[in-house]
Amino acid sequence: MVKKITSWLSVGLISAAALSGCNANTPGGQETTPQGTAEEVDPRGQILALSCASCHGTDGKSVGIMPGFYGKSASYLKNALMEFKNDGRYSTVMGRHAKGYTDEEITLIAEYFGGLSQQNSK
């Protein structure tokens, strides 16, 4: 079973390796960030958080009736998501969504949006 996922991963990796190799061979090409160094944005948090924008607007800037959350802090967002997850807050659909994430994932999502707001307000 793990083998199957490893094989999916290796397909992407071969391409990634090929591309990074070719990048190094390209004169004037941008240098790739070495793997393992600290990054500004956690890629897991990012990929989890991109989902939210479909209903709450890009970066959480809502143009509809759904609440926008751009500018809210990570701790505010984590608290709200945990409340939705644990049925501590009324919702039509948010509770159904929040239950799909582990507490760790909720933290990552909250930190992504919290960080985003902070970054842009500088």
């Binding site: 079973m1 790739t32 969504h97």
Partner: protein, 430 residues
């Protein structure tokens, strides 16, 4: 999925993968013709436009060219609202101005006619050839007209529109409904699974019934279904009973619903239980991946495109990512929202790959609202993750509007449905 295989293990796999990739297979590198990484996106719908916008948003050093024939894209979501008289066609029109001006996506209004997977290039109808480092194909669906005797593309454009690609046929169906004689029936023929927007035909029946109730009280809706059951069935049936008693007659495939042939000139539909005549006949044929996907050899025997569920890269042609209705995405339905979710995951993956990094584990969502009546909404939601069985919906999360939802909740869902459209459209094209 093995019970022993936890998400922690999964993350470890990705880390192991990252370490492994430094040992990389550099010999297989494809030479680039320019310094800037180039992504070409085919199709400006929910999947393609999302991918184009988000690649640029996440890494503006990557050039993105979006190929879409139409300058205005009409969304299938909310096209039923147009048919029911609740929205105008302009309300579901999206353009590419913001993608161009705010995100720097190059938009070419032309049709992609050929993909050369070996040489990483796409030929356009106008003669142009585009080279790419990675290609995103979001071609949507193609219709299998041959599956129904007597039906054809010409019939769909005139007497019996499918209205399953929004635009001229949405307007045609709307006009046919308005011109229909009171007392005539509207016949809707949904296909078997899998098809685009599983609750679509039933929301359509609901909003047409809402229109008939007010404007043609002698008419009703007959649904001749290829299937034995359908999406959100319990919720729809409950809503129909309440709002449109006796107005919607749904017939399962085994109960005379299975369509064997149509006669567009006589406006009749043949079933195992005899012919059914309609004043308006909406035939939704079986579907397959958009034409270019099949022509490029990206489809398998099912007619849809198998993909790596981490990156949505084709398992047939490396370097080409297939997203949206055209791809086989495990438990995910063929919905605009799902296509957008896949577009964003693919964008993030492509950015990582082009930076020589390992993609993050995918996390996907779907949220689909259906309107049963103007103030009566229902929804289905799901969060998806990757397991060894592919993309599965997370147990204990998601699901439907509760069957015992009260009028206030149903009214709130209808309000949120409108908000859903505003934000999903903003997140993709705005």
């Amino acid at each position: 999925m093995s019970q022993k295989f936890t998400r922690r293990d999964f993350s470890k796999l990705f880390i192991a993968g990252a370490a492994g990739s430094t040992l990389g297979v550099f010999g297989g590198a494809t030479p680039l013709l320019a310094n800037q990484k180039r992504v070409v996106v085919i199709g400006g719908g929910f999947g393609g436009a999302s991918a184009a916008k988000y690649i640029r948003k996440l890494d503006s050093s990557i050039s993105v060219t979006l190929v879409e024939p139409a300058a205005t894209f009409y969304t299938c979501p909310f096209s039923n609202w147009v048919m029911g008289g609740l929205k105008e066609i302009n309300d579901i029109a999206q353009t590419y101005d913001v993608l161009k001006s705010a995100y720097g996506v190059e938009v070419i209004h032309d049709e992609a006619v050929e993909i050369d997977a070996a040489n990483h290039s796409v030929k356009l109808k106008g003669g142009k050839e585009l080279k790419y480092d990675r290609l995103v194909a979001s071609p949507g669906i193609d219709f299998n007209y041959d599956a129904i005797e007597g039906y054809s593309e010409a019939a769909a454009n005139s007497q019996m529109p499918h209205g399953y690609k929004a635009g001229p046929q949405t307007e045609l169906l709307t006009k046919q409904l308005q011109e229909m004689k009171d007392g005539d029936n509207v016949v809707i023929c949904p296909p078997g699974n899998p098809f685009r927007c599983p609750p679509g035909p039933y929301e359509r029946a609901s909003l047409i019934a809402n229109y008939l109730k007010k404007n043609k009280p002698g008419s009703k809706v007959i649904i001749l279904d290829a299937k034995e059951k359908f999406s959100k069935q319990g919720l729809f049936t409950k809503g129909w009973k309440k709002l449109y008693p006796g107005l919607i007659d749904w017939r399962a495939g085994s109960a005379g619903g299975k369509v064997t042939a149509v006669d567009p000139s006589a406006m009749t539909v043949q079933t195992s239980s005899g012919a059914v005549k309609g004043g308006v006949v909406n035939v939704i044929p079986p579907q397959r991946a958009g034409k270019i996907a099949a022509e490029a050899g990206l489809t398998d025997a099912s007619g849809w495109c198998p993909v790596n569920p981490i990156t949505f890269e084709s398992t047939i042609h490396p370097g080409i990512h297939v997203i949206g209705d055209a791809c086989i995405a495990g438990a995910m339905p063929k919905s605009g929202f799902a296509a957008s979710s896949q577009g964003k995951v693919t964008a993030a993956s492509i950015v990582r790959l082009l930076q020589g990094k390992v993609p993050a584990p995918p996390s996907l969502v779907n949220t689909c609202y259906s309107l049963v009546g103007p103030g009566y909404g229902i929804s289905v939601a799901a969060v998806y993750k990757l397991t060894s069985d592919g993309i599965v919906s997370i147990k204990g999360a998601g699901g439907l509007t509760p069957m015992d939802a009260d009028d206030d909740q149903l009214s709130e869902e209808a309000t949120y449905a409108r908000g859903w459209y505003n934000n999903v459209a903003q997140d993709i094209w705005g």
